[in-house]
Subunit: 365 residues, 2 copies
């Protein structure tokens, strides 16, 4: 196996020439300030260990040379990259965009940098992205939901990268996730509608494929209804894409069935807006003819001719706390953040008691 044995100490470098200015950054600063590299390093990272005189000289050298430390080398030496990876299903939904912004702000404030990827609701892709992040040496990970690739745990265990699941909360997994209790959210919303007298409910929602949050919300609706002995009829259950036009389409579809629903619960704000706009096209009165409620509060909901009842989730709070939590863990600080985030049912004009005339199952559209 051992191949060569004779080479008797050749000059270390390739050719004889010292290779123009081969001094690396920190080293260069060190000679300029007539100190050792260790001292320069300390002057930046632990200034109190360096005498004021040298500190001064070093800083002078630094900005005289315009030196910017190499984070890569630092990361290698310290095994800390001050980098956090976040994988979101998408960025084009308001809540994730808001959370991302909050995360980035929070990280930045403490010197961390955000690595971002979008999995497009694909678990396999999410896994690959996480893997990449780990290769890149992220110190922590922010994910969405609790439903991940089966091999994830193994991967994380090896490097012991802390992780936090966002936009979910359940008492069982307390401490590993930050977000709303999705099930309870729609449970409460549904109760509100029940108490208002509604009996025939329709659901217009996005696919629950790889989306445990949406699934939990659906479950919340069904649980609340079940308590009253009510179930959502198949023809009142419409699943589709995430868009206004889809909302219009699905709303029209469920409203064309018998018995006609008096309350339509939408899985996201775009579907709700679509449903409402379609109700206008159909000449329906909201909420007299039908109540429409959504999930998540986007600004337009509050400004439509009939403002829309919805659930507000503090996405910024979710993002901020997730970031804080991770950083605290990394710095071994104690931290007390609420894992279950604030939510609020925002009751606006689009929901109300069903009108009498809708009770008899009759009438053509």
């Amino acid at each position: 196996m051992s191949t060569q044995g004779s080479s008797e100490k050749k000059p270390p470098n390739h050719a004889g020439q010292p290779r123009q200015s081969s001094l690396a950054g920190l080293r260069e600063v060190a000679v300029a300030a007539h100190v050792s590299t260790a001292t320069v390093s300390r002057a930046i990272n632990t200034p109190h260990l360096v005498s004021p005189k040298l500190r001064e000289r070093i800083h002078q050298a630094i900005d005289q040379l315009g030196w910017v430390p190499d984070g890569t080398a630092r990361a290698l030496a310290t095994k800390r990259s001050y980098t956090i990876g976040a994988v979101f299903p998408t960025l084009t939904h308001g809540d994730f965009a808001r959370a991302t912004t909050a995360i980035q702000q929070e990280l930045q404030a403490r010197g961390y940098t955000l690595l971002l990827a979008c999995s497009d609701y694909d678990l396999e892709q999410e896994f690959q992205q996480i893997k990449k992040f780990i290769e890149r040496g992220v110190d922590g990970l922010i994910l969405v939901g609790e439903n991940h690739h089966p091999d994830l745990d193994k991967l994380l265990a090896r490097r012991s990268v802390p992780i936090i699941n966002t936009f979910v909360y359940s008492p069982q997994t307390h401490g590993t996730c930050i977000g709303p209790d999705n099930r309870k959210l729609f449970f409460d919303m549904t109760r509100y509608l029940i108490e208002m007298g509604h009996v025939v409910f329709a659901i217009v929602a996005q696919s629950v494929q790889n989306n445990d949050r949406a699934e939990a919300r659906l479950q919340g609706i069904q649980d609340a209804l079940a308590e009253e002995g009510i179930a959502v009829r198949p023809q009142h259950f419409a699943i589709g894409q995430w868009s206004i036009s889809e909302g219009r389409h699905l709303f029209r579809q469920v409203m064309a069935t018998q018995p006609r629903p008096t309350a339509v619960i939408c899985g996201n704000p775009y579907l709700a807006v679509g449903a409402y706009l379609e109700s206008i096209s159909m000449g329906l009165e909201v909420p007299q003819d039908v109540s429409i409620v959504g999930y998540d509060d986007i600004e337009v909901m509050n400004h439509l001719p009939v403002s829309l009842t919805t659930v507000r989730v503090q996405s910024e709070q979710v993002g901020r706390n997730a970031a804080r939590y991770l950083m605290a863990r990394l710095e071994d600080e104690a931290i007390d953040i609420p894992f279950q985030c604030d939510t609020e049912i925002v009751i606006r004009a689009s929901s109300g008691p069903p009108s009498r005339k809708n009770n008899p199952a009759s009438l053509s559209l």
Copy 2:
């Protein structure tokens, strides 16, 4: 200066114990596969230089040990991080979110990772974030606009980090920016309104503070109007925040002035939606009483009772091309992308010729 001189070759490591499994990752794989570290490295990066037999053995060792290469170390050694930094003013506006998504997709497809920050339209903050990115060793940068911190060039020159400005295009700076020609965009839109017979124009827009794109668009309006000898009156010029409610407020404000505008050009989609929704509250007919046009196309604009005329910018295209451009430069590939991106004036129901009755400067609101 030289302190010690005697130490006669002490054992290299601290205590005598070999420190449990001190073999670092790649080294560990190497011994497991009975090859040298160089060969392992080659097996991953340049497989064709390694005999199939060893390659096989190495890969076996790799996934038997579950090794994940350390990107930090790799980056240090190769001086390439396969990382791109992007600084956006915000993520909560649809166009930037879409562009970010496109960038990330494109980067991922070629093994790059995205670092993201939001400057909140603050040049100083942007500069700090860029600096941080450079410390982190990004291979390239994606920024928005052409207006950056004065020291930016110096900083970039030192490390020679390639950069691309997005969401802007002007012939003068061809090759350094990718986006729409913002000035021309609103120039054309204004011409369209002029040709329709409008004479009294109002502008409802966001602040142009550190926003050369918005500024260029305003200039486009003014240039087009100037050709006809028209100027926007001070009372028709409303600048504010970026929101629907602000759009409502500013719209009401400009509509309360004399002479009353027959066309309102909005600087972004939210302002346009707000303006339109306020027109409903005010009992105005769009476009008979007033034409409303916006910038950027968000879905709701096409679904409101009166759909809104706007300008569509291919933000995804901007993002994608920016990413491609950078990667091509980094890999020394030739690439032919359009620097000026596609745009389209989408004429919908909210714009039309001014009605006769609006001509006489009269009437109370």
